[in-house]
């Protein structure tokens, strides 16, 4: 069975925020909604300072807490491991937002005035609202560009290899720090890199078994 996962090479990541912006553009996300973020911290003391740059997104956990706590079955885990939100079923209780240890879910309250307040929505924003409508009053999050994956598979493309079937953040990374593929395929580039470079998950003590790995 396929289990889609992502690997982020922290040695290649330069913290350019391209993934954040690519995701926003691809999904026409309104202001203050981010499905991909870049966290930066520093440890150590001058002159021995280490900069930590971590792109973070929904981990599509194998043991997703959000799936368990959702009272209305709006949050489901697909057979391929993608944690999917059915916006037509979400009641907006935000229990999943509270429960997520990675805080990668956002409540969309609607009423956004676009990126240029006072000037109305641009043509692109209007197109975005038709192409990728979000329901106000529901919770939204990264979906691994599932629509691209599904369409790509229908066309016989391979997610993680063919750009058309690969998440936007992976495609747009200028340093090729992101990999996407099947975690259950031991021979996939993703699985090989995780084994060879000792990939780790964020906060494994939460017991969620994330599908996003990091190597450094």
């Amino acid at each position: 069975m396929v289990r889609w996962g992502m690997l982020i090479d922290l040695k290649r990541c330069i913290g350019c925020y391209s993934c954040m912006i690519a995701c926003k553009q691809d999904h026409f996300l309104p202001p203050n909604i981010f499905w991909n973020r870049v966290l930066i911290s520093e440890t150590g003391e001058y002159p021995q300072v280490i900069n930590h740059v971590y792109p973070v997104l929904c981990n599509h956990c194998k043991e997703a807490v959000c799936v368990k706590v959702c009272p209305s079955e709006a949050t489901l885990q697909r057979k391929d491991g993608i944690v999917h939100i059915d916006y037509d079923k979400c009641v907006g209780c935000r229990y999943c937002v509270i429960a997520c240890p990675y805080q990668q879910r956002t409540f969309y309250s609607g009423g956004d005035k676009g990126y240029f307040p006072g000037q109305g929505l641009t043509e692109l924003e209007l197109i975005g609202k038709k192409l990728y409508p979000l329901q106000p009053g529901t919770v939204v999050k990264c979906n691994f560009c599932e629509e691209k994956i599904d369409e790509g598979i229908c066309k016989g493309l391979k997610p993680g290899v063919d750009r058309e079937a690969t998440p936007a953040c992976v495609n747009n990374c200028p340093t090729k720090a992101r990999y996407f593929g099947d975690l259950d395929d031991t021979k996939s580039k993703l699985s090989v890199l995780i084994r060879q470079r000792k990939g780790f998950q964020l906060r494994p003590e939460f017991g969620t078994d994330p599908s996003v790995y990091y190597i450094d």
Binding site: I50, V69, C90, C93, R94, I98, P101, F107, Q135, V139
Partner: protein, 293 residues
């Protein structure tokens, strides 16, 4: 706990969905949960129909109303019953719905057919259901591993004892104006429960310091951070010390004066409100990435 945007999930990040902006409704719903649920349990004990009616109204109008108003899509509320197998929120919704229905039947029976076996049976059932409603909040919160401060087994028990204490305060108020309540028993119960509640709060905060650095940080925020006045003035002074002092004085004077009793009840309510606020406000998420100590 003012946080800069670049500190989000890099430092300790406070929970905001259930306490800030519209999240205030959750706080109010949980306060109503404790007060309404506790009053119902206490009213069952003292057989006060007025108490039972008031608590039923508090639960349906205030708790139910605040929860309903908070939902992003309130007209889909019925969907919340769909997943009781894994979701404490779904279970809570089912308990709430059952209490509203069975509580209404119990009230009708208590008014029209008091003292019958059927009335007694419904009192038992409604009492069990409201018990589940009151402790459910604790389970909704302590299920969340992401917030170490909430991840405590004592939380449901604390909510229950706090709720029953509120109920005793309100039943005293009902007794003052309507009579028909054993005031000495209610005051004795209050005395004991004030001590038990103080003990539970102490155990809860002390236990939270063992829930890792994030749990400890939550406790530090409560004890000496920006929200410390709410603990010391709201929970401890108003919620415990003043009512306890009045309660102890009534033990020696036989019965405290009406203004003093009302002051004790008002302080207890303030304590309950403050406690729920603190628990929601002090909740922190652990940093996701390595950060300076």
């Amino acid at each position: 706990m003012a946080m800069k945007s670049y500190e989000w999930m890099v430092g300790y990040t406070p929970q905001t969905e259930w306490i800030e902006r519209r999240g205030i409704l959750i706080w109010l719903a949980e306060v109503s949960n404790g007060i309404g649920g506790g009053l119902y349990l206490v009213s069952l004990y003292f057989n006060s129909l007025l108490g039972m009616l008031l608590s039923w109204l508090i639960i349906i109008l205030l708790k139910g109303g605040f929860h309903f108003a908070y939902l992003g899509k309130p007209m889909r509320f019925w969907r919340m019953a769909l997943k009781p197998r894994t979701s404490w929120l779904a279970r809570g919704f089912i308990f709430l719905t059952l209490f509203i229905l069975l509580g209404a039947i119990q009230l009708i029976l208590s008014y029209w057919l008091p003292g019958t076996a059927l009335e007694f049976a419904f009192k038992v059932i409604a009492g069990l259901i409201i018990f589940l409603v009151v402790i459910n909040t604790g389970f909704v919160m302590n299920y969340i591993n992401a917030i170490p401060f909430w991840n405590s087994a004592i939380l449901p028990i604390l909510f229950l004892s706090s709720g029953v204490l509120d109920g005793l305060g309100l039943i005293l108020t009902i007794g003052l104006f309507k009579g028909n309540i054993d005031m000495m028993a209610a005051e004795a119960g209050t005395r004991v429960l004030l001590m038990i509640n103080a003990l539970f709060i102490t155990i809860y905060l002390w236990g939270a310091t063992y829930m890792g650095p994030t749990g400890k940080r939550s406790v530090i925020e409560i004890i000496k951070g920006g929200i410390a006045p709410i603990l010391w003035v709201g929970v401890i002074l108003c919620g415990i010390i003043i009512p306890f002092a009045i309660s102890i004085s009534s033990y020696f004077i036989v019965e405290a004066s009406v203004p003093l009793l009302i002051m004790a009840v008002a302080c207890e309510m303030a304590g309950a409100v403050s406690l729920k606020y603190l628990i929601l406000k002090a909740a922190l998420y652990s940093p996701l990435i390595p950060t300076p100590p």
